[in-house]
Symmetry: C2
Subunit: 414 residues, 2 copies
């Protein structure tokens, strides 16, 4: 049997209906925030991703040469493609540019619970402004999107790339070594970070101070430990979020998000029910356009891990109702098929979800099938009824059955 | 500047909104017909496509080895993946199985007008039945989908793989040579077909008869030239389509659709406004599951060329309105940003598409921006107004402006 590729999924009807429901709801949230949708190709020149994340990223990309010998990669995320598109085609549009996107991304890594080689992201970028207002707008929208999934158990952690950077520099780490240290701290690799810091001559006391900082999480009051502009900036974001009714927010002085292209605020949303793979959303302020040949432009953005957010919703026991067949039209014999086709065509034209028996099954067997697929009504089209321009309408919930004029059928059902 | 790969497209907001509008409308049609959505991965093992279409298909596929040395191909179409999924996961479901899908497909070919390397298909498969009723159901749905695009100028051509096959066989072509001849006829390569037929000893008169047959297009009356079961079958499909109100249908005795996996009816929808690349939909009855390791199951399906259908709609001058910003919230100074944030959050929570000034622009400049993005209302949040729990509401169409209590704002706008 031909199997689907490892780490990918098929989505069967119930699952797909749920996914489309969430997708549509996320799209609506983005629209109410004044964002508009864009789309970029499934693959890009692999250079786009190495420019953003360095050559090591190739290890986890699906990279290949096309027949024209160009090195192509399936996109691992959609921020770089979106900014590439902005540089190519939107750089002269009035700012800010507010765009969102939804689609597949690909990473070649060992498949495990909640990690797939083909996964889905819903993300947004606010391009062309660098300000607490932009950051608050983006975080507020991320918060509204998490609400779409109905999650109760989640937390939004906000930090700033400048906080820990400042702390590390003031402890005596040379500017060019800062990124290396932050990467260790971001991954909570304290032993490795300690070795690195000791080599640079940082004192034990300062190291303890740094570690303690990375573990500091709390309300707006923890900002009392962050002096200067960065503290004021985060306080402003916090106030704006409060005004917009955003809850479940904490300040996390240790959030770094590994990637060194962030320039200011960084944030993550975690759903603790998911265990180790608990991050369902991540974002921050960054600048990328200059890497792709454009002018330097500041942006803020985020992406929701669509698959994980759905798993989190399921772990909380949230369900998403599917729309079943409303009417099943059942000809009592092959001779009635033409009449039945007319009836079902009228129902469908009236936007009523309708199916018709086409397998030539007998009435009793077809009724069982209608019941199995959850049809609300069965319309029985028989010779006697047709002579009276009528059909038999059976309510599958109550079991009631009555003769209805074809001209009144839609009215009876709605 | 990093460019997007050749033959692919970026979709900017106006374009994307139009595409999502059509996609949603097609999805709704499929649902009203009792079909349910499924999705398969962007790539499959390349064997899936060579099993269906032969090894030559590799020439136009994006094929590559993944890091585990598996030969992978970006999907060129979605029927094979859907049937693979059916064999793997749905083969025991009650029949018929009615599924639809929408997504990207990929072909490595020279990009030209209306032909892209990354293109979009909306398709459906009715799995597990082989009958005029199934075929009529599928063609009726294809017809309703074409109507979604608002097209007036299109034609649905219906044929049957058996007609020309029978004609060719009765002219003396050996069974094993039939496919070769049909392929030439399908491509209207009459000179090559003539040579082939002459080699097989077919008489000039019979050759003329075959060629004339392939050019026969018309109403149900042309079926008088098709004897036996196939003629009756097509007449039945025609009657069912008539009952379902499907128009713009002709019988085309020459439709073959090149692919040799079709087993019965075949059909195409053409939009003549598109010139050479005029086919916007194609489908037919087939059997594939046995190639992928399942039991033999008959199906009928089709796919709409989403990109071309949109181009056809545009050629007919059809437009699709986009939803612009309803309300632009404008703080008169930085001090008012917090109040303004509260106002905009309430509007968004009420599902009103709203944006907020975050660039710190002065009122006159921000008003120009609001006008440029087509905002219907501007809500001005100023210190004086806030003292009265009010904001200034400006109707950008009429130019009227009035003081409105914040508690009444949503009511005033809706």
């Amino acid at each position: 049997m031909v199997q689907r590729p490892r780490g990918t999924r098929d989505f069967l009807p119930d699952e797909m209906e749920k996914r489309r429901h969430y997708e549509a709801a996320l799209r609506r949230v983005a629209k109410t925030f004044g964002f508009r949708e864009v789309a970029t190709p499934i693959f890009e020149e692999s250079e786009l991703f190495t420019l953003k994340s360095g050559p090591n990223v190739l290890d986890e990309l699906y990279v290949f040469k096309d027949k024209g010998n160009r090195e192509i990669a399936l996109r691992p995320e959609m921020t770089a493609p979106t900014i590439r598109m902005f540089v190519n085609e939107m750089s002269n549009n009035p700012k800010p540019i507010k765009v969102f996107y939804f689609g597949q991304c690909f990473r070649y890594e060992r498949p495990q619970s909640g990690r797939y080689r083909e996964f889905f992201q819903f993300g947004a970028e606010l391009i062309g402004n660098f300000d607490a207002e932009s950051d608050a707008e983006i975080i507020a929208m991320a918060s509204s999107m998490i609400k779409v999934f109905g999650l109760k158990n989640y937390i939004i952690k906000i930090g700033h790339i400048g906080i820990l950077k400042q702390k590390v520099i003031s402890a005596g780490v040379p500017e060019k070594c800062v990124v290396g240290v932050l990467q260790k701290l971001d991954k909570k690799l304290y032993d490795e970070a300690r070795l690195l810091l000791l080599e640079m001559g940082v004192s034990e006391e300062n190291i303890r101070g740094i570690f303690e900082f990375t573990e500091t999480v709390g309300g707006v009051d923890v900002l009392s430990r962050v002096p200067g502009e960065t503290g004021d900036y985060l306080r402003r974001v916090f106030d704006l979020l409060l005004a917009m009714g955003v809850g479940n927010v904490v300040i996390d002085l240790g959030v770094v998000r590994g990637l060194d292209y962030y320039t200011g605020i960084v944030f993550e949303v975690e759903a603790p029910t998911l265990g180790a793979e608990k991050q369902i959303c991540g974002g921050g302020a960054y600048s990328l356009s200059e890497l792709f040949g454009g002018e330097r432009v500041f942006s803020t953005g985020f992406a929701v891990g669509f698959d994980r957010a759905i798993i989190a919703a399921e772990k909380e026991g949230l369900v998403c109702e599917s729309e079943s067949i409303k009417v099943y039209v059942l000809p009592t014999s092959k001779d009635m098929q033409i009449y039945a086709s007319r009836v079902v065509a009228n129902l469908r034209a009236a936007d009523i979800v309708s199916d018709i028996e086409i397998m030539g099954r007998r009435v009793s067997k077809a009724m069982k099938y209608a019941s199995a697929i959850g049809a609300e009504y069965v319309v029985i089209v028989g010779a006697q009824e047709i002579q009276q321009d009528s059909v038999m309408l059976r309510n599958m919930v109550s079991g009631e059955q009555k003769l209805v004029k074809i001209s009144n059928l839609i009215e009876e059902i709605q």
